[in-house]
Symmetry: C2
Subunit: 256 residues, 2 copies
């Protein structure tokens, strides 16, 4: 049985301020909740139908609180248009950012990504490409936004997303010899440019690309070449799509 | 001045049935409306603020009907949360599908893509890669859905999207010697497999991948390899992301 207060609390997690106060975030959907458990995350509250609880052998130690709910209660609590059989309030992970760790392999840096769907898709593709760390400018959309969580498809439990002073962090990385890659219209052809096995790949804002301050920290400017008969221009590729194409090329070279 | 009837009509274009009856679709946003004009599309109705009309030298022959609207009227008519200064009702293009034309270069085929954002992103990346034709199964989401139009970012005016019996079309294409590529978990490594300059690349449904019937028509099964430390599995890459990675590889080979 789900109290009105609990429903109100769950819904309040749509707001960043509340998430930060409470140090929790909301995870919705059967698959996502199971991925959180599989990733060893401690659930603060698990709300699920009797069917979900029975089918998935939910043991008490997986969640501080397990509440069996009816489909009607789920409908009331959920932020989704078509809720599933489970949602969970999950404790935020304690992450300690370590520049040396992050730059031992390829890392991503995001400069003011605004759209939750784009951030979720980028987290998901980082997971696919084995990229463990995403460094976000402080004005990038919050990775615990429910829409980011949904579009990350569980990758949020495996990829570390750090919010930090991006200019300062890149400055330190460059000072220690880490290559900083970024896509610019005037950059060198991605397919001809030498790519290193480790480094930081910076992707910029949906409308404006990489900011001037961050651009100054980039050591290797590249661009995805225009293809015969195709469109060119800064706005012609979605940022998540461009990220995927760049990451694929880094990883392809590694395998060569 | 925008009549109540006109507002009702504009909003009714969110529905596929009405779009098909009226043979028009809705385009919102300054940039998108200008792209429609630039692409030589005849606007049936252009609703814009006086500022937009003055700044952009809108001449009478660009639209059958031009209605100057106030920001308040735009707010009422728009399907967007934050409307801009222009929206247009645009005539659907008359497209005649020709298999030989479509397969002279690389074409995409979409097997039951459901999410409007995914379809819009795929149209946009097709435009970037110079892919002129997208062949869609009849159950793929309508390309004139307002959400598809928005996420295509104007590419809808340059890429032809055809709805057809995909199995029959692929059968004919294969019979005439066209290679049909598709991504499957058991496929060959995309980066090792020979890719032709022309052919059809099939991408499947968000949850279930390529359907069995369509899979039988695929002559070249490929897969995007798992990367060191990365996730594997069918659901680990968003379909638009996977499409981008595959198209980039086809085009990179062409340029080699």
């Amino acid at each position: 049985m789900l109290s009105k207060n609990k429903i109100r609390f769950i819904q309040s997690l749509a707001r960043k301020k509340i998430r930060e106060q409470e140090k929790v975030f909301l995870v919705e959907g059967n698959k996502m909740v199971l991925e959180a458990i599989e990733a060893g995350r401690q659930l603060k509250t698990l709300c699920a139908t009797s069917g979900f609880l029975a089918e998935n052998n939910i043991s008490p130690q997986m969640a501080t609180e397990v509440i069996e709910v009816s489909p009607e209660e789920m409908q009331k609590a959920s932020l989704l248009q078509t809720p599933q059989q489970a949602l969970a309030v999950v404790n935020m992970p304690e992450q300690h950012f370590n520049l040396t760790d992050s730059t031992q392999d390829l890392a991503l840096a995001l400069d003011f990504i605004q759209d939750p769907g784009n951030l979720g898709t980028i987290i998901r593709l980082a997971d696919w490409f084995g990229i463990r760390h995403i460094l976000c400018s402080e004005n990038t959309v919050d990775c615990f936004n429910p829409k980011v969580i949904q579009s990350s498809m569980g990758a949020i439990f495996r990829v570390e997303v750090h919010y930090l002073n991006l200019v300062e962090t890149l400055k330190m990385a460059a000072a220690s010899g880490t290559k900083i890659f970024g896509t610019f219209l005037e950059g060198e052809n991605l397919y001809k440019h030498p790519l290193s096995k480790n480094g930081i790949l910076v992707m910029g804002n949906e409308g404006n690309g990489i900011s001037e301050e961050v651009a100054r920290m980039v050591t290797d400017k590249v661009h995805i070449p225009a293809f015969p008969g195709g469109q060119t221009g800064s706005e012609s590729l979605n940022v998540a799509t461009a990220t995927a194409i760049c990451c694929a090329e880094f990883r392809r070279r590694m395998m060569d």
